[in-house]
């Protein structure tokens, strides 16, 4: 149940960037989440719905870009996605590799609206 603290972190980052961008409303938030990063979309969404009211991000839609785990073979450099018990390089049959994708966990971008109105002063 660590998604609560993670969602607080999401909201903090989103609010900082929204403020810097002069936004009045955040409509969309795109998160990049690697398969190995142990965070559950539904749970983040649940806490987001709880924490976001009365903030600039209230009502924003969360988008999750899931990144599959990828290995780079240490023998021949081939990149491949391990699946279940299949960790064998398709080119040279070596086992495993360096993890080159799957650990991502970041806020990629936000979509914001800015009210530019009441400019008659």
């Amino acid at each position: 149940m660590h998604e609560l603290s993670v969602t607080e972190d999401i909201l903090r980052i989103v609010r900082e960037h929204a403020e810097r961008a002069g936004a009045s409303q955040v409509t969309d938030i795109t998160l990049v989440v690697g398969e190995l990063s142990s965070f559950i979309d539904d749970s983040i969404q649940f806490y987001f719905n709880m924490l976001s009211p009365d903030t600039v991000a209230e009502g924003a839609e969360l988008h999750f870009k899931r990144i599959s785990t990828r290995f780079r073979c240490r023998q021949c450099g081939t990149e491949f996605e391990p699946e279940g018990r299949d960790w064998i390089c398709p080119e040279c049959q070596a086992l495993g590799g360096d993890v080159i994708a799957g650990k991502e966990f970041y806020v990629e971008s936000i979509e914001v609206t800015s009210n530019g109105g009441n400019r008659d002063d």
Partner: protein, 220 residues
């Protein structure tokens, strides 16, 4: 007087958990200043973390060792460690499945760091979540007990990729179970070729020498 609104995309690309990582960096600097080596022990519930720590404290009498115990609830593990005479702090996470850097920072004030060589952090029993939260440790050690099976790296690759050492515990049970140590080592090294894999029994003492030797190397 006009009201206009525009929608635009703002690139962010900011890592989550950066707040935790900042506190972890502070912890790490503090440990370095105090010249204490900190080892984060991660494993499933029941893998034998506390038992191994008790045997380690007994085997390294000449080293000053402290322990931070992380559990969802109770003082049970801290009470066991306290019987060894080592200073111990119990953190109860109140439901959270891992320790994080602020929890460690809070516990540090209760340990006499300047009088310690080595601090073990026994993380909450869990093979998934603790991996995502840097505590400021110098080394990560993953424990896996023989009854858990030799295929764990397939199911929980994150932890085996994150550790500096893997310790197979309860090796005295190997004659009774189908744990293939060679197959397990091959899998771990497929993911993490730099992590040695040791096998030991804290109960019988077999294999403890290599574990203590590894610890001494990190302390030197």
């Amino acid at each position: 007087m006009t009201e206009t609104s525009e929608t635009r995309q703002v690139p962010v690309v900011e890592r989550l958990l950066s707040a935790n990582e900042q506190v972890a960096a502070d912890n790490r600097a503090h440990f370095q200043a105090q010249q204490v080596t900190v080892i984060n022990i991660m494993a499933s519930p029941g893998a034998g973390k506390t038992t191994l720590l008790m045997a380690t404290i007994a085997a390294m009498q000449e080293r000053r060792i402290g322990v931070i115990e992380g559990d969802v609830a109770s003082q049970v593990d801290a009470d066991r460690i306290a019987t060894t005479g080592a200073p111990v702090v119990q953190i109860n996470t109140g439901g959270a499945c891992h320790l994080d850097a602020p929890m460690i920072r809070g516990a540090l004030v209760e340990l006499p760091l300047d009088a310690l060589d080595l601090v073990f952090v026994e993380n909450v029993g869990n093979l998934i979540c603790p991996v995502s939260f840097d505590l400021g440790q110098d080394f990560n050690v993953g424990l896996i007990s023989v009854p858990e099976g030799d295929d764990k790296p397939y199911k929980y690759p994150g932890i085996f990729e994150a550790v500096d050492l893997v310790v197979v515990t309860k090796s005295d049970l190997m004659p009774y179970l189908d744990f293939d140590l060679d197959a397990f080592k091959t899998l771990v090294h497929g993911l993490n070729p730099d992590a040695p894999v040791l096998s030991l029994s804290a109960k019988t003492g077999v294999g403890m020498d290599a574990w203590v030797a590894w610890l001494e190397t990190q302390l030197a």
